[in-house]
Amino acid sequence: MSRLEPPRVSRRSFLSLASVGSFCAAMGVALAGALRLPRPTVMPGPVRRYKIGNPEDFPIGSATHLEKENVFIYRDGEGIYAISAVCTHLGCIVAQSAQGFACPCHGSKFDAKGNVVGGPAPRALPWLEVSRAADGQLLVLADNEVPAGTHFEV
């Protein structure tokens, strides 16, 4: 019987704990580093930031269609906002209409704030972030959507 149940062994010691512990810690730190690697530190590709001019170019109550940037710029009492001119259905460029916007391709209709009022478009026209460039010009960041109603105060 004794050979089947040899005496208990206790090899636990501080050295064992410390070495295993430091091994796990080292592996943990390495893992943490490895997990950070796939996250991009800087986004590749060109950033769609458009300088569109100074605030004075957009008087209160104005509605400007910037054709090159595919965006509508509005200014009211609260500030400046930008609505994308790209239809959320299949990407055609919408035109301004009496109620707001209308897309010539498949008949999507939007109100003045970009909400869908008719047609196949699945969601509202996105509002784009407006900011300032370093030289003072207004900047439209077409890659950044903001909640509808966000105004940029000038």
């Binding site: 050295l15 064992s16 410390a18 070495s19 295993v20 430091s22 091994f23 810690a25 080292a26 730190v29 390495a30 580093g33 530190t41 800087v42 590749p44 590709g45 060109p46 950033v47 930031r49 300088k51 900011s131 300032r132 460039a133 370093a134 030289d135 003072g136 105060e153 000038v154």
Partner: protein, 489 residues
């Protein structure tokens, strides 16, 4: 009994602790101590100091410490310069220390950073995120095009602009370089755009050369192309040991101007949307260039070897005597066709290139001949014509009287090569006879039928003439076949 694992446990502990240490050190180095992080922290303090109005506050709010880059696929550039040069396009940043300062001048107005990036003008390694690798101007960074700073950047303007239409202050050094190139007659030996001499390399793509395509043996490190050009213009022989190029004797600033011009000669693949309209017009004009005036041609393409032209000279490197092409002696008897043929066809086997292949238009050759003959003395009287005599007797006379200067079989030496095919072709018998009779004023060619002491009779003249013509028959085939040009580097 000895615990067999004790050693290993100690090893494991030590190695793990070392590993943790270095991993943490690497993490700190990468996430906190990088050049760009330190600088962006300083920049944020600047933004805070300048956040006195709406604009300043918005810029401060949106500022994040992160790697920043400008990606311009059309120019194949991803420039991370803005990670350190963060204040580059903020006009308020005039009083901050570099590299945070705003870009000098108003270049950015017409060259917005988002559309152009930085390296299209400044070169350097745009992908780098630290100064040493971005500047790439030392031998331990393996990047073909080092950073150009200050006025050196002007060399990039030529890629997209017709430089002569730009305001001169913006491209002053480059323009100076272009003008010096013409003034120093570099075109005598070098071609640009197919126009120029053939003694040395064509320079159309000189700016594209990397350090591996230039001879850096005699240059002290760092071996960069701008330094090479500077050294080369200051002392050509010091850079390339057995060069034919004479020292252009320029000041340091002029050498810099020439270097900038050389760097600008780069046939880059710039997308059409980036070319200035002036440039497109310039390219169109280059298809049918207006002919230069005679003096312009002479200054740009002849002066380098012939100098003012009144006197000939012995060139050590060519090992050949360069004739006086504006000397009164020659012009008194050389006809316009004679000069035109010699310029157009050159003197094969010598350093005088065939300028019709050297890019000169026919009208320009005519113009430069007119320029040469502008101050010609009245044509010399020819005297009685002499028929060709016996070449063998002439050979004896030639050996006695002519060989010393004109060389055996007329192959040249201190005096021109009489066996040269172009000479044989362009010089009429009368021309040869007259020259031997009367010599050539202001050169070493004596008169062999001086009225006071005629050295050669007419019959003897005829023999010498026949002998000289016989040289042409022997060498014509050999010269044209070998196509060698003497003294090519």
């Amino acid at each position: 009994m000895k615990d067999p694992s004790r050693l290993y446990r100690w090893m494991l502990l030590a190695a793990s602790l070392v590993t943790i240490g270095y991993l943490v050190a690497a993490a700190v180095r990468e996430n906190y101590l990088a050049d760009w992080q330190t600088l962006q922290r300083v920049y944020r303090r600047q933004l805070q100091a300048k956040a006195t109005d709406d604009r300043g506050r918005v810029l401060l709010k949106n500022f994040r410490i992160e790697l920043k880059q400008i990606s311009v696929p059309a120019l194949n550039a991803v420039d991370r310069c803005v990670s350190c040069h963060t204040g580059m396009d903020d006009p308020r940043m005039t009083d901050v220390p570099n590299p945070l300062r705003v870009h000098p001048g108003d270049i950015l107005k017409n060259h917005p950073v988002d559309r152009f990036g930085c390296t299209v003008c400044h070169h350097g390694q745009g992908a780098a995120t630290n100064f040493h690798d971005a500047k790439a101007d030392t031998n331990d960074v393996f990047w073909d095009y080092p950073l150009l700073r200050g006025e050196l950047t002007q060399s990039s303007c030529l890629s997209c602009h017709d430089v002569e239409r730009l305001p001169r202050e913006q491209v002053a050094l480059l323009r100076e370089g272009m003008e010096l190139y013409r003034e120093k007659s570099c075109g005598s030996c070098h071609k640009i755009g197919g126009r120029g001499g053939s003694l040395s390399l064509a320079l159309d793509n000189e700016g594209a050369k990397t350090r591996h395509e230039l001879v850096m043996t005699n240059l002290q490190p760092p071996h960069t192309t701008p330094r090479w050009h500077l050294a080369h213009f200051s002392d050509p022989g010091g850079v390339i040991s057995n060069t034919l190029m004479r020292n252009p004797t320029v000041t340091k600033r002029q050498a810099l101007a020439l270097a900038v011009y050389m760097l600008s000669l780069w046939q880059r693949d710039v997308p059409a949307s980036y070319l200035s309209p002036d440039k497109i017009e310039e390219k169109a004009r280059a298809l049918h260039p207006a002919p230069l005036s005679g003096e312009q041609v002479y200054r740009r393409y002849c002066f380098g070897c012939h100098g003012e032209g009144a006197y000939g000279s012995w060139n050590k490197s060519f090992k050949r005597f360069i004739p006086a092409v504006r000397g009164p002696g020659l012009l008194a008897m050389a006809t316009a066709p004679y000069l035109e043929t010699n310029i157009a066809k050159g003197r094969p086997g010598t350093q005088m290139p065939a300028w019709e292949a050297g890019g000169l238009q026919l009208a320009e050759i005519t113009a430069v001949v007119d320029y040469l003959r502008a101050e010609a003395p009245p044509p010399m009287a020819q005297g009685a014509l002499v028929a060709r005599g016996d070449a063998q007797r002439g050979g004896v006379l030639f050996a006695q009287n002519c060989e010393g200067c004109h060389g055996m079989s007329g192959r040249g030496g201190m005096a021109p090569e009489l066996a040269n095919p172009t000479f044989q072709q362009s010089a009429a018998d009368a021309f040869i006879i007259t020259t031997i009779r009367h010599g050539r004023a202001a050169t070493a060619m004596p008169a062999f039928q001086n009225p006071t002491a005629p050295a050669l009779t007419d019959a003897e003249l005829g023999d010498v003439l026949a002998c000289i013509r016989s040289f042409g028959q022997h060498t014509a085939g050999a010269q044209l076949a070998s196509g060698r040009v003497g003294g090519t580097p």
